[in-house]
């Protein structure tokens, strides 16, 4: 570059905005867009014309092209993507549509004007053979552009940059500006404090209770505070009005904000106070009079400082990587991290239904009950007697000024800390606490959000969904799988409130290379060795049906199958839960674990209890047909051979098949025996999934099986022990012993073993490790692969089984199950638990080889 370059003009663009390029044809908009933005961010009217008319210059296609452009822009903005519109946009009505679009999506519209001399534009257009603009078009466009230039801010553009001349356009640099509300990089820890309303004594007490050290001025007034652990305070608005010392509260909070030890969002009371201080005509109600009176005793400078502070507050903040949102009246997900008048209004006032209640106050839309967002929302605004989680939201306004409490939530610890009001400072328009009074259902969508933990919405489960899990990251559920699952879930499953877990599917190990075998423990041991897991436990696989049992101490409970359906008919279900509860009581489990209920993962035997129809309709039918057909075939072949007809080796083959069919029949019979009520039924629990507020997947299997043994000792008729062997896969002798045990178990028709990491939940080299691998016996596998799967030519083909999908499914379902248990243990709302359980069911309808 030669000579001193002028300072490069800067184009400031908020990182979520609709950037509208304005410039005549040939002014270099597309080049500018290409240089400064990603291709996917730029929507060009020419390209859209091409998409709808196969010709970028077909002017008759312009209306359709703009329909398309606006549609794509809308979709992008809904998804929270910065979008650049590359069109002339010299007409006011064209720009107005874009401003409206930005506002509809609560993002800021930004204008960037490229004002380039006419001659340059004409020359550029002339150089493009495909562009055949009639004479005078560029001149008319320029005239229109210049007419509109000064009114751009009035049109609603929040930032307007005009680049004059080719040089400025060439030199310009785009600078991204983070939105004021975006503080995702700020992870706290925070003490989030509800509505203070001028209650300075209580605020001081609360801060001290939270461990803050107050800083005071010469007059002893608190003017700041620091926390020894570097915590920050977040004030949820409505610092002012009604209470005894609004100026004192402001002095303290303003000092903390200025020192960087606190953040504050505005409340509706600050909003009104600013207007009053600036001399606007506002109705002096709801405690504003007290504030104005108290502030009139302060200096003019202080009042100006207050007005400045309140005016500068940002409507809401997104904090801690997007996990936390704070706003005075709360904020639905679609408005979080956005900027518009609507966002500000919602954050300040919430949404009202347009009706008023019997006290003349607006009836509020209970947004929190419908909230399904990912972020936790902390808010105030509406006094509640007790802070209660409603979905993922919590109201921290506990009506201090009305004689309630001043409350804070420690984030991320989620601990509530509060101090009581010293006295009733103001009488509310509506009786407080609301909880006692607002029981009448006719007062319907009342102010205090009514927690309804039992309500589930179809949006919690239907459609394509992604569930965030701690152990398995993000797990997607496809729409058609959810569609099948909802039918089973809503028509056949146990009620969602009880159904807090479904068992994950389990994979076999890699296929064995040993002759005559598909599965062998060696591959399971090798799998875990490769994952770096040395200590394993082999558990006998009971050939029954998987069951999950919820057992309450009072003898009630529910038992469900892998798809959540009740395992037993109602009468039997009660008897079963009662027996298990009695066993748990006798074994002392309720007392020892300090819980009123147990959630057990188990197998219920015999297989024929639940699978009777299937055994009769499928397995027995195979045996019956085979036993009739094969001996007849052998007979026919023998007679033909007797006549001297050459039938090759067919006599031997059919005889072998007849033997296989008999072995198959023996295999399934092994898992059938008659039962009468609970008579003959056995349950083998092998893992304690959860108790009140607790999960146990970090306890070793030895601990779980120890509990199961105690249940078996307490009721040996009903509860069956699970035999097991410990294995150290770094010790060949230990492996050999376990393998011998497997051979012994499966020599008859025993199903086999499940090999699990002894420590239970284990992370390996590539993340979560398979929680178990099932190694099934040779004879048992006839039920799965057919009577004559052991014949060499079949076995060879069967070895090519694809395990990847099954493995992935097993891990995804495992992670979802853990997430469900952990969410339930944390006391999260039902829909949060249910979405995980539902996702397991939906994943189970994925097409995977059922023989694995």
């Amino acid at each position: 570059m030669t000579g001193p370059a002028p300072a490069a003009p800067q184009v400031v663009v908020p990182d979520l905005s609709l950037v509208v390029l304005v410039g005549v044809s040939g002014s270099g908009k597309s080049t500018f867009a290409r240089r400064h933005f990603r291709a996917t961010q730029v929507l060009s009217s020419d390209a859209c014309r091409g998409l709808v008319a196969d010709d970028e210059n077909d002017q008759s296609a312009t209306p359709l092209a703009f329909d398309l452009l606006h549609h794509i822009a809308g979709v992008r903005l809904t998804a929270g993507r910065l979008t650049v519109v590359d069109a002339t946009n010299v007409k006011r009505q064209d720009r107005a549509r874009l401003v409206a679009l930005a506002r509809d999506h609560d993002v800021l519209p930004v204008a960037v004007v490229l004002d380039v001399p006419e001659a340059v534009c004409l020359a550029r257009n002339a150089a493009r053979p495909d562009r055949d603009l009639p004479a005078g078009v560029v001149r008319r466009q320029r005239a229109e552009l210049h007419r509109g230039l000064r009114g751009l801010a009035r049109e609603g553009f929040r930032k307007v940059t005009v680049l004059h001349g080719v040089e400025e356009v060439e030199a310009a640099q785009v600078v991204y500006e983070r939105q004021y509300n975006d503080r995702r990089d700020d992870a706290g820890p925070f003490d989030v404090i509800g509505d203070v309303h001028g209650c300075r004594p209580e605020l001081e007490a609360l801060l001290e209770r939270l461990g803050w050290v107050l800083r005071r001025d010469g007059a002893g007034r608190p003017v700041g505070a620091e926390h020894p652990e570097g915590r920050r305070a977040v004030f949820l608005g409505d610092l002012v009005d009604r209470g005894p010392d609004t100026p004192g509260v402001l002095r303290l909070v303003m000092g903390m904000v200025a020192a960087g030890t606190a953040l504050a969002v505005p409340g509706n009371h600050e909003h009104k106070l600013v207007r009053a201080l600036r001399g606007r005509d506002v109705r002096v109600t709801h405690g504003l009079a007290e504030s104005l009176a108290q502030l009139s005793a302060e200096t003019e400078a202080f009042r100006a400082e207050v007005a400045e502070f309140c005016h500068g507050l940002v409507s809401h903040y997104v904090l801690d990587g997007g996990a936390l949102v704070v706003a005075h009246a709360g904020l639905p997900e679609r408005l979080q991290g956005r900027s518009s008048a609507r966002v500000r209004d919602f954050a300040l006032y919430g949404e009202t239904t347009g009706e008023t209640d019997e006290y003349g106050l607006p009836v509020r839309y209970a947004w929190a009950q419908d909230y399904r967002g990912r972020a936790t929302v902390l808010y105030g605004h509406t006094p509640v007697p007790e802070p209660e989680w409603v979905t993922a939201t919590l109201c921290l306004d506990t009506g201090c000024v009305f004689g309630g409490r001043l409350t804070a939530l420690r984030w991320p610890e989620r601990e509530l800390v509060s101090v009581p009001a010293q006295r009733v400072w103001a009488e509310p328009a509506r009786p407080f606490p609301a909880g006692a009074a607002a029981a009448a259902p006719s007062a319907a969508p009342a102010t205090a959000p009514q927690r309804d933990p039992g309500v589930l919405d179809v949006d919690d489960v239907l459609g394509r969904r992604v569930v965030e899990t701690r152990h398995g990251r993000r797990i997607a559920v496809r729409e058609e799988h959810a569609a099948a699952a909802i039918e089973v879930m809503s028509r056949f499953a146990v009620a969602p409130a009880a159904l807090r877990w479904l068992p994950p599917t389990m994979s076999p190990p890699d296929t064995s290379a040993l002759p005559g075998l598909l599965e062998h423990p060696a591959e399971a041991f090798a799998h875990y060795r490769a994952e770096g897991v040395a200590h394993l436990v082999c558990q006998e696989k009971h050939m029954g049906s998987r069951a999950v049992a919820l057992v309450h101490r009072d003898g009630s409970g529910a038992t469900w199958t892998r798809t959540g359906r009740p395992f037993f008919a109602p009468g039997l279900a009660g008897a079963f839960a009662g027996r298990l509860a009695a066993a748990a009581e006798a074994a002392g489990l309720f007392a020892e674990l300090g819980t009123g209920w147990l959630l057990l993962d188990a197998e219920i035997l015999p297989w024929s209890v639940k699978a009777g129809d299937l055994i009769r309709g499928q397995y027995a039918a195979v045996g019956a047909a085979a036993r009739a057909a094969l001996p007849a075939a052998v007979d026919v072949l023998r007679r033909a051979a007797g006549r001297g007809v050459d039938v090759g080796d067919m006599v031997a083959t059919q005889t072998q098949r007849a033997d296989d069919a008999r072995a198959f029949t023996t295999a399934y019979r092994h898992h059938c025996w008659p039962t009468d009520g609970l008579e003959g039924v056995a349950v083998a629990p092998f893992q304690l999934l959860a108790t009140e507020g607790a999960t146990y997947h970090d306890r070793p299997h030895a601990w779980h099986l120890g509990l199961a043994d105690r249940l078996a000792d307490a009721d040996p008729q009903l509860v069956r022990r699970t035999r097991r062997r410990d294995v150290d896969v770094t010790d060949p002798a230990s492996e050999a012993a376990a393998t011998a045990w497997w051979e012994e178990l499966t020599a008859g028709s025993g199903e086999g073993v499940v090999v699990k990491p002894a420590g239970n939940l284990v992370r390996g080299r590539r993340g979560l490790v398979q929680p178990g691998l099932k190694v099934r016996g040779r004879e048992y596998l006839r039920i799965v692969y057919g009577p004559d799967y052991t014949r060499p030519q079949h076995l060879e083909r069967l070895r090519g089984r694809h395990l990847g999908r099954k493995r992935s499914l097993a891990l995804r379902e495992y992670a979802l199950g853990l997430e469900a248990l952990e969410r339930a243990a944390r006391g999260e709302p039902l829909w949060r638990v249910h979405e995980c359980v539902f996702a397991v069911l939906a994943l189970e309808s994925e097409p995977v080889d059922p023989r694995l």
Binding site: F492, V645, D646, S845
Partner: protein, 465 residues
């Protein structure tokens, strides 16, 4: 799987000429489903028997027919009686191996091919959905003397009863071609359920094989229907997989469109009663919640005063059936704009159902487990909150008037309960009071002085707040 055919026509060995297969040799032919062997266990002047033995490749079978990459996702497709019990697979082999005999042509013995012969057919294991009775129903009208014996499922468990496999023996005088064609059609028809892939040309095959006898068969409709079994939709396959996971049969989870047994006039009376209530409420936008296969939807659409009709059901298959019933895809645009079908579950709230004038829950609540009724009440009265809600349900007291209903049983196997009039009234009044509705109870169908009407209806109307 095995089939033998014998004749006592003299010389019996002429059977070899008719079939075009030499009695002295065993012959093997590759067919699409495995390897078919033709051989003669006996061949004398007096009696000659041909055996058709099909060795099915079970692993190949599970992979589906040639050219389809679709793998099987149901265990039933891997472990089943197909390799053993005679079924459509054997019919395919029979069609291939005895093609010219089936056409009734014979180079060496043309007159014999046109002559009825004394024949005996033995199928030691025949898949026969419907048991010996169905085999009798198929073959007896064709002039066969039928001996069919059901095989026990498992001698170890006599309480399990009979398998769907039958040992079949037929005797009669028939042209050989006719006998082969009877068997060619009978095998898939008697098998019924498991005819996996049905191509469009199956109709032609049936017409050709049935020439001269099917049209006169008293059960020709049943035969045609069972011959042409159709496949289910994707969702249905997904549901079947969920049944699989639970070791259950697909029918357990997929019975949403099976109607409750009831007298036809009652259905019409119920529809009329519901429509009358909707009319008198002045409803314009109407929800049919739990619409099932869409029984009520045509009646709703027939009334222009219902400007918008939404049929909602949890069963994807039910909605597909409703769409078929309404001929949705060729409905005129304006008409089409009035109707929406959507999948939802009434125990979940659904914003799409908000803001309607009226909702119908016709014979729906009794399909919901009692412990989930509060969720349904909240979703309907609390969340969707239409101006009017019409609920119909069976009157349990009336069940004693149905001689076809065993005492103490319910009208449909999926009914979770059936209410007496007092129980229904108590529920309706409580639900109404809890959600700001008033309620009126109406009898539907002839009112029995003792046990009341067969159907009871509650009309809820939202009370202004």
């Amino acid at each position: 799987m095995l089939l033998t055919l014998s004749t006592t026509h003299r010389p019996a060995t002429d059977l070899g000429f008719l079939l075009g297969k030499h009695p002295g040799r065993a012959q093997s032919v590759e067919v699409s489903t495995g390897r078919a062997h033709v051989l003669y266990p006996e061949a004398s002047e007096d009696r000659c028997t041909v055996a058709l033995l099909l060795e099915v490749d079970p692993v190949g079978l599970a992979r589906g027919p040639k050219g389809t990459a679709q793998a099987a996702f149901s265990l039933g497709q891997y472990v089943n009686d197909r390799p053993y019990a005679a079924s459509s697979l054997l019919a395919v082999a029979l069609g291939r191996v005895f093609a010219s005999a089936r056409r009734g042509t014979s180079k060496e013995r043309p007159e014999l091919a046109a002559t009825p012969l004394p024949l005996e057919v033995n199928v030691p294991a025949l898949s026969c959905q419907g048991g010996p009775a169905l085999a009798e129903r198929f073959f007896a009208p064709l002039g066969w003397s039928v001996q069919a014996r059901a095989l026990p499922l498992d001698e170890r468990f006599p309480e399990w009863g009979d398998a769907r496999t039958v040992a079949l023996r037929l005797t009669g005088e028939h042209r050989l071609a006719d006998a082969l064609n009877h068997l060619y059609v009978a095998l898939p028809v008697l098998d019924g359920a498991k005819h996996y892939w049905v191509a469009p040309d199956e109709v032609d095959k049936l017409v050709r094989a049935g020439e001269g006898w099917l049209a006169a068969h008293p059960d020709r409709e049943l035969i045609t229907r069972r011959y042409l079994v159709h496949r289910g939709s994707l969702t249905r396959q997904a549901l079947a997989r969920l049944a699989e996971v639970d070791d259950a049969t697909p029918e357990t989870l997929d019975d949403a469109t099976e109607p409750a047994r009831t007298a036809p006039p009652l259905v019409a009376q119920r529809h009329a009663a519901v429509l009358a209530e909707l009319r008198s409420a002045g409803a314009r936008r109407v929800l049919d919640l739990g619409c099932g296969g869409g029984a009520l939807l045509p009646a709703l659409l027939a009334e222009p005063s219902f400007e918008e009709v939404v049929g909602a059901d949890v069963s994807h298959r039910a909605l597909e059936e409703a769409a078929r019933r309404l001929h949705l895809e060729r409905m005129p645009e304006r008409q089409r704009a009035r109707i929406t079908l959507l999948q939802t579950a009434l125990t979940y709230t659904d914003a799409r159902l908000r803001g309607y004038d009226a909702a119908v829950l016709m014979e729906v609540v009794e399909h919901v487990d009692p412990d989930r009724l509060p969720a349904l009440e909240h979703a309907v009265f609390g969340a969707a909150a239409p101006g009017t809600v019409v609920v119909t349900t069976p009157n349990a007291e009336h069940n004693v008037r149905y001689e076809w209903l065993a005492p103490g049983t319910l009208r449909h196997r999926d009914h979770r309960f059936e209410w007496t009039r007092a129980e229904f009234a108590a529920w309706a009044e409580r639900a109404a009071a809890a959600h700001g509705y008033g309620v009126r109870l109406v009898a539907v169908g002839p009112e029995d002085p003792e046990v009341g009407p067969p159907t009871q209806m509650a009309v809820f109307f939202r009370v202004a707040t």
